[in-house]
């Protein structure tokens, strides 16, 4: 039943379609980061993590925490694809009292584990989850996706020191390095490179992958040590707005305000890719 890399690629594209479906309702949202991280989130929910959409509060579940909370559409899209809630709910994105606000709310949507959005909060919370699970003797793991743009927040490095000092080997942090933030290239706004070396210096095991390459994501997750004292930092090099050729690697994709024509063109591009991928999988 474990999905293949080819199948996961299709599911990630379907999740991209879910993002477009959300934007159809509001016509504005944090697109770029949602799409740069969506392949990672797809691999986590649909293959890597032990989670059950029918029992989203199972104490033994693996946890996923979106530290870069503005990438929420990426998480919502995958939660819908994984069956945590009916796809029709996507149409409420951004509407009054929707369970899908611009930043995730753990009390509104099954599968959401924390109220993130203020940057630099996710990693310390993830550390607390990992510590609590360890205290319970649980084998569950905690996964988080951080953004490269949030790394200047000092609380991240408090979290980095905690995870290492307290030997949270059950914690896996992806850093979605899409290289762009709202004011421009992260290297120009505040250069936090070398990111991997920083985490390594804090005592983490560090890996580098192409975070939009499903085979690399899955391959790395399979090879991660299942036990051990060191937390894992995965520096995932990605492309902002990955999958929409007109927007890839552009700053305006950070917060996109599409016209109906933009959405139709984007949908056609993704559907064509799905057809190709399904053909290849057949």
């Amino acid at each position: 039943m474990t999905p293949t890399v080819g199948e996961l690629k299709v599911r990630a594209e379907r999740a991209r379609l879910n993002v477009l479906r959300m934007l159809t309702a509001t016509r504005s949202g944090h697109l770029g980061g949602a799409l740069s991280a969506i392949d990672i989130i797809t691999a986590l929910y649909l293959r890597e993590m032990r989670v059950d959409p029918a029992n989203p509060k199972d104490p033994q579940r693996d946890r996923f925490l979106l530290s870069a909370g503005h990438k929420a559409m990426g998480q919502y899209a995958v939660l819908a694809e994984a069956g945590f809630f009916p796809a029709e709910v996507l149409d409420t994105y951004g509407t009054f009292k929707s369970p899908l606000p611009g930043h995730p709310d753990m009390y509104k949507l099954p599968g959401v584990e924390a109220n993130t959005g203020a940057l630099g909060h996710g990693l310390p919370i993830a550390c607390g989850m990992a510590l609590g699970l360890r205290l319970d003797g649980s084998a569950a793991r905690v996964y988080t996706v951080m953004g490269d743009g949030e790394l200047p927040e000092g609380s991240n490095w408090e979290g980095a020191s905690i995870a290492s000092h307290h030997e949270l080997g059950n914690l896996v942090a992806f850093i979605d390095v899409n290289g762009l933030q709202i004011s421009g290239p992260t290297a120009k706004v505040m250069d936090m490179s070398p990111i991997g070396e920083k985490f390594a210096a804090f005592g983490w095991d560090v890996y580098d992958i192409d975070g939009n390459d499903m085979a690399q994501i899955v391959g790395l997750l399979e090879s991660l040590p299942r036990t051990g004292a060191k937390p894992s930092a995965i520096v995932a090099h990605t492309v902002k707005a990955k999958g929409l050729s007109n927007l890839e690697g552009t700053v305006p994709s950070h917060y996109w305000k599409p016209t109906p024509e933009d959405l139709a063109a984007a949908k056609a591009e993704i559907e064509a890719r799905i057809a190709d991928l399904e053909g290849a999988n057949a």
Partner: protein, 314 residues
Amino acid sequence: MIGDRHDPRKTFGAAVSEIAATDERIVILSADSGGSSGFGTFMKEHPERYFEFGIQEQGVTGVASGLATTGKIPVFCAIAPFVTLRNFEQFRNDLGYMRQNVKIVGRNGGFTYADLGSTHHSLEDYAVTRMIPGVTVLAPMDPDDMRGAVKAMLAHEGPVYMRIGNAPIPEIAEPAEFVIGKARLLREGSAVTVVTTGYVAADVLEAADALRTSGVDVELLGLGTAWPLDEEAILASAAKTGHVITVEEHYEVGGLGGAVAELLSGNAVAPLDRIAVPQSYVPTGPYAEIQQSLGLDAASLQRRIAELVATRKG
């Protein structure tokens, strides 16, 4: 009645440790602050539930939130400004907004860290913590009240902030059950309602008793819960005496006086005077001398309350 004095930190730490010894959900978090918060024994007896993080309050507050999602009851005690202001956004988002069952305890509250100066004083903590929806703010008045407050805090589901002081505090009242949100009627009177909270209650009580001896019949309400207010008790007493005075070791903006002003603004049953710390960086030096310079010691309180009563009655 002013009884034996007890160290507030040791009293607090012992009270938590006693309950934590048998409740495995309770975990103690330290930002280089555990020993000085009264957890010296607990850390030796239960090292598996005692976690040191070094000096970093934002990270620890986030960790507390994450721990609480797994059913733990984290208790994090350190110097008051560092667990309310330094980490304010974590307090608001990770504890308040996420509705986590975490207990944050600010020790050396007010200006009890007297000579260490304004960086180590905490004269905004009631204001900032009570602004966060769902947060309960406790300020026990004496050692017995503190033991009761600890028990109630650990039994309460949801984020709690508790302020404790530094210098030994005396027993000021007969032991009574601590009920979150309930005021204690420390003295019954008819001339004026004095409302106070926290460890300053001992000085306020001394002032109130001296005033009663001199013919000013003070009714004294002691709030072990600074927020939410016991509105019923305050309004009933205010209606009876026709004059309310708040006394606190906090800035005059936003604290107990501010909260009572908000209450009375919608229920104008009595005029209100607020005795608090003026909006300034207070002098450094011995605690008692700072108190005197701000008119917050028992003798000054006696004089100021008498003056306010005379002004309002005149």
